[in-house]
């Protein structure tokens, strides 16, 4: 169940829309940041708010890159694999990340902290290679930079 204040925010947004389903992405995004991912239960809950069947909502949830239908780690790394990043060494950075986090593409690290996913061009090709972690962009990536980013996130996680 959603905390009352989040539910209130969602209901307000929906009330303001021309049709409830127009808010589907926003509702799922907000619910996802609370739950971590959109479980079957969360989908039902969202469908109820939006006046949509779970199936109608599923059509959207599975379509978009940034709605997660399976559990993800606390940090979701999307590494750009489009053209500019590809030519600037995406592949070797990806291998480095996999080793560092002990994951394969699509997987979550054994400590449950990191999920690694691909993403297409992030719109930061002037700072390629690039990745995004929980809405924060990291550009001009090198192995060293990746090491320090991951190190900081691990510390952050352990501190809280």
């Amino acid at each position: 169940m959603l905390p009352a204040e989040i539910k209130e925010t969602l209901l307000q947004r929906i009330a303001h829309a021309i049709h409830p389903r127009e808010q589907a992405i926003d509702v799922m995004t907000i619910m996802q940041s609370h739950y971590g991912y959109m479980s079957d239960e969360a989908m039902e809950e969202a469908g109820g708010l939006l006046d949509m069947t779970p199936l109608e909502l599923e059509e959207l949830a599975t379509f978009y890159n940034f709605i997660y239908r399976r559990p993800v780690g606390r940090y979701v790394l999307h590494i750009c694999d489009s053209t500019v990043c590809w030519m600037n060494g995406h592949e070797s950075l990806l291998q480095h990340l996999c080793t560092l986090l002990q994951v394969e593409m699509g997987g979550t690290s054994p400590d449950g902290l990191f999920t690694l996913l691909p993403v297409c061009c992030l719109g930061y090709c002037d700072h390629s290679p690039a990745m995004i972690i929980n809405q924060v962009i990291y550009g001009d990536l090198t192995r060293e930079k990746i090491d320090s980013v991951i190190h900081k996130l691990r510390e952050q996680a352990h501190a809280s």
Partner: protein
């Protein structure tokens, strides 16, 4: 500093946006005030038509012509959509523009909305641009407080609400009609016209979709006049400036505002600082991932819709991706087709089934399993992509087809050597 006049980037700062106050000091929102006081919607259309403003979203469609296609007796409420989906690899101009001068976008939206008599506008922003969306939301609020948006703007009869919509993230959502489905909370498949969105768009009401760069030009046209706008360009048929993005193997990748018709060579060699040390120009995609590879012999072409068209290419979004002699173009094309295959919405067969097949053939060639007979198959499949439902699949075929046109030898080398010669 650029030696060319800066319009959209005239107030571009290093680390922050140009504020509402600063924008107003340099004449901002004056065009909106003039329009609401002195112009009929037809008057705005006529000025923009005279200026010859063409869409910056990729196709170069005349903006005034699109606005005029909203029927005079069309139903209300009407809608305007500012497209900042920007998921075409290589393209990042919308982001830079939002971070430089959000109010010229907002003012442009207000004027365009007045022109088609829309009472609600949406700015459709891709995910990962959460920062840009936050800037827009904040600045829209400021503009409302200052009376430039909201009810009865500047004492006129015209009211407008702007809503920032953050997408869930899929390339196809940038396609005008798919975007409308996305906004309505439906699965974002494209819709084949007619009826065109300007007749039957969001919730069956007249809706205009424009790129945000297109809209940002509008206040400047009203403020300075059509002749001034035409004078900004180096060519006749594509007036104004253009935001060019350069990325890849250049020294200074970035987004530059330059006259329409600036030679491609100048953009790469001068503005983007030329090729990296040890790199030589091999090819570029001149307008994002869905355009054709361009070769060194074509570097003197001017970057505008018609000059590019004359040599059989497309300017697209003006996002130039530069490849050097050390980069395998079969590998690059494989990467591109991988992108399109993944981002295909799956609605129609040529794209849904054809792109993965093309990817598979290219994968085999790149990985030493290619056969000569694949080449004609690939060629004919590229042609078949034109039978698809929307422009994604023909766009996807563009780099592939041009690889075979300009770099067939490199493809053959892969097949003969049974490996990628660059590895």
């Amino acid at each position: 500093m650029s030696r060319y006049p800066q319009v959209l980037f005239q107030n571009r700062k290093l680390k922050r946006i140009n504020t509402l106050e600063e924008y107003c000091q340099s004449g901002g929102y004056q065009a909106l005030a003039d329009v609401l006081r002195e112009y009929t919607p037809q008057g705005v259309c006529a000025a923009v038509q005279e200026a010859g403003l063409r869409g910056r979203g990729g196709a170069g469609f005349p903006a005034a012509k699109k606005w005029e296609s909203v029927p005079a007796d069309g139903a209300f409420p009407r809608f305007l959509v500012a497209n900042s989906d920007e998921m075409e690899p290589g393209t990042f101009k919308d982001r830079v523009l939002i971070h430089a001068e959000p109010h010229t976008i907002i003012e442009g939206i207000a004027i365009a909305a007045y022109t088609i008599q829309a009472s609600k506008a949406f700015i459709f922003v891709r995910p990962n641009y959460e920062g840009s969306a936050a800037i827009l939301e904040r600045e829209i609020k400021r503009a409302e407080e200052a009376g430039y948006l909201g009810r009865r703007i500047l004492g006129s009869d015209f009211s407008l609400e702007i809503i920032v919509h953050l997408s869930g993230g899929r390339y196809i959502c940038g396609e005008g009609t798919a975007l409308l489905n996305a906004l309505m909370g439906k699965r974002p498949n494209p819709i084949k016209p007619p009826p065109y969105p300007t007749v039957k768009g969001l919730w069956d009401r007249p809706t205009v979709v424009n790129n945000i760069e297109t809209l940002a030009n509008v206040p400047h046209i009203i403020r300075n006049g059509p002749d001034w706008f035409k004078g900004l360009s180096l060519v006749e048929k594509s007036p104004g400036t253009k935001l060019f993005c350069v990325s890849g193997k250049v020294k200074s990748p970035g987004c530059f505002e330059l006259p329409m018709g600036t030679p491609l060579r100048e953009i790469i060699e001068e503005h983007a600082g030329g090729l990296l040390e040890g790199s030589e120009f091999k090819a570029c995609l001149p307008g994002g991932a869905s355009t054709r590879f361009l070769i060194p012999e074509q570097l003197d072409v001017r970057m505008d819709f018609d000059s590019m068209g004359e040599i059989g290419h497309r300017m697209g979004t003006g996002a130039i991706i530069v490849f050097d002699q050390k980069t395998c173009l079969v590998g690059a094309t494989l990467n591109l087709i991988q992108f399109f295959a993944r981002e295909s919405c799956g609605w129609c067969t040529p794209c849904r089934e054809g792109l993965p097949y093309l990817r598979d053939l290219l994968w085999r060639i790149e990985n030493g399993e290619g056969k000569e007979e694949y080449i004609p198959t690939i060629r004919s499949m590229c042609k078949d992509m034109w039978n698809s439902f929307c422009a994604l699949a023909p766009g996807a075929a563009s780099p592939v087809e041009s690889l075979l046109t300009y770099f067939e030898d490199e493809v053959h080398e892969h097949i003969v050597q049974r490996k990628c010669p660059f590895q």
